[in-house]
């Protein structure tokens, strides 16, 4: 399974859940070095995905707030 395919349908919520699982595993398990490397790589990928989602969300929220030139003011 490619990384792209792995990220298909991924949401922020799912990403954070997976991240927590990975962190717990990395911190506590006695996995092999290869497994550890894979987990770390996946975790960094998920972190980047989450950061990007948050950034995009923030930008979208800012943009529609700017679009609202309120008659309220």
């Amino acid at each position: 399974m490619s990384e792209n395919m792995k990220n298909e349908g991924l949401t922020y919520e799912k990403a954070v859940a997976e991240l927590n699982t990975l962190v717990k595993r990395v911190e506590e398990s006695d996995a092999s070095f290869e497994q550890l490397e894979k987990d770390i790589k996946r975790a960094m990928e998920l972190i980047n995905f989450c950061k990007s989602e948050l950034r995009g969300y923030k930008e979208r929220f800012d943009s529609f707030l700017k679009a609202d030139n309120a008659p309220m003011n």
Binding site: T11, E37, Y57
Partner: protein
């Protein structure tokens, strides 16, 4: 020697003339004249005056003294009063029954024995008719009517005599309305004589002052309390009608009582019967607008209240959705928020903008209490909007912190960092080596270091375990 001619004593001579006058004018005659310098009219004594006739230029072409003896004074004066509403006075055109009288003691005079008030009234009516025709010819009859009274006539110029009953009535109603409607009129009084010969010029001058004033008025109120028909006759004067017609502002004319009708009423933008009615006209306009604005205010409060509830609900839902950190759900909320914002700014903006025209006047002219309530509602909505922004921003910040913590943990666990510092990483039989007792003779060991991996089997294993401490 001068022959002595017949010489009379003065009284004999005048009595002789008087006799001639009496014999030649034995009967009373009706004469038309204008009254000048009357005194004692309707009083307990004799009444004296001059009777004059003027030419078209106003020059006196005939003049004679006249009197009404005491016994006739009250009867004649009262007759005129009953018909016209007041005693005859300077300048009145009258028709009198007179008898020539030459008294040796007091000279020639006309003895007035009766008066015809209908002549005076007819003269006024005729003059009124002529004035109206002149106004029509000069295009002045409709001029002021073309000016409409603004829907909120708060700034008012009043032409009246200060202290006059009509003005007091007007102000009393206005003051009462200010309390009841919670509003404030701006009223400037332009004083003018409201009866007598000086009235037309004084009133014309007041209109000139109003037109030239730097203050812009919504309306001019021209009022005078009731009076006799002759007292109010000046309100048929050409000069006053011209002043009203040419006024820069719509004029509300409220002259006299119910039965009176004057040319100034006919040329004014609005005619009412009395000063009180003039106040009522203005108050009704304000009250109607206030009611309309209050309806709008209710509608806006309803809309704003509705939107606040919607926003509150939305906020609660947003918080709950945010707590699950679901971007999908957040996006869904964004759509709801966008819809709310666009509905507030779009769907209602037009309606609100239309009403704001009314509100602007309302806010500036009515006392601030009601408008403050509307502004407060706007502020509440703004606060909710700010809360939304804060909540969303806060949620983003929390998300970022959570991510940062996870990232730190991952980085701390990354074996690459350990290897970088010169340490190694041991796998024993495919599992991470976490304790020394996991090592067995013959176990397959993999050692990973920064620069490579070494694999080997354990031979000659000797374990040294720490001796448990004795307490």
């Amino acid at each position: 020697m001068v022959q002595e001619q017949e010489t009379y004593k003065l009284i004999e001579f005048l009595s002789s003339i008087s006799g001639v006058v009496q014999s030649n004018f034995p009967d009373s005659k009706w004469v038309e004249a204008e009254i000048s310098r009357p005194s004692g009219v309707g009083g307990p004594g004799h009444c004296y005056m001059d009777l004059v006739q003027l030419d078209e230029s106003g020059n006196t072409i005939a003049q004679v003294s006249a009197h009404i003896w005491q016994y006739k004074n009250q009867q004649i004066s009262q007759k005129f009063l009953n018909a016209t509403g007041r005693f005859f006075d300077q300048g009145d055109k009258v028709r009198l029954l007179v008898k020539a009288d030459l008294s040796p003691r007091y000279g020639f005079s006309l003895n007035i024995t009766d008066i015809d008030p209908s002549f005076t009234l007819g003269e006024l009516a005729l003059k009124k008719k002529e004035t109206w025709k002149r106004l029509e010819n000069e295009g002045l009859t409709e001029l002021n009517k073309e000016l409409e009274v603004p829907i909120l006539p708060f700034t008012i110029a009043v032409i009246s005599a200060k202290g006059a009953a009509g003005y007091e009535d007007f102000m009393e109603h206005i003051n009462q309305a200010e309390k009841e409607l919670d509003c404030a009129f701006k009223i400037d009084l332009y004083e003018a004589p409201m009866q007598g010969d000086s009235a037309p010029e004084g009133i014309y001058s007041a209109f000139e002052q109003i037109n030239e004033s730097p203050r812009r008025y919504d309306v001019v109120v021209f009022i005078r309390g009731g009076g006799s028909e002759l007292d109010l006759a000046c309100f048929d004067d050409y000069l006053i009608c011209k002043a009203i017609a040419e006024c820069n502002y719509p004029v509300i004319s409220g002259i006299g009582h119910e039965r009176d009708n004057h040319l100034c009423d006919d040329v004014a933008s609005v005619r009412v019967k009395t000063p009180t009615a003039a106040a009522a006209f203005l108050i009704d306009m304000i009250a109607a607008q206030k009611a309309e604005v209050e309806d709008v205010e209710k509608a806006i409060l309803y809309i704003v209240g509705d939107k606040i509830s919607e926003a509150n609900l939305l906020l609660e839902r947003l918080f709950s959705k945010l707590s699950s950190s679901s971007v999908e759900k957040i996006n869904g909320q964004q759509l709801l928020i966008q819809e709310l914002v666009s509905r507030l700014s779009g769907r209602y903006a037009e309606k609100m903008n239309l009403q704001q025209l009314l509100l602007q006047e309302f806010v500036s002219k009515l006392s601030s209490s009601n408008s403050e309530r509307i502004i407060n509602q706007y502020n509440v909505l703004e606060k909710i909007r700010s809360s939304l922004i804060f909540a969303v921003s806060n949620r983003v910040t929390i998300g970022e912190r959570e991510l940062s913590v996870l990232e730190q943990k991952i980085i701390a666990s990354d074996p690459a960092n350990i290897l970088e510092k010169g340490y190694g990483y041991l796998d024993v039989d495919g599992s991470k080596l976490t304790n020394i007792q996991a090592l067995k003779e013959g176990s397959r060991v993999r050692l990973k270091m920064k620069d490579g991996v070494a694999e080997f089997n354990i031979e000659n294993l000797k374990l040294t375990l720490p001796t448990p401490q004795q307490n």
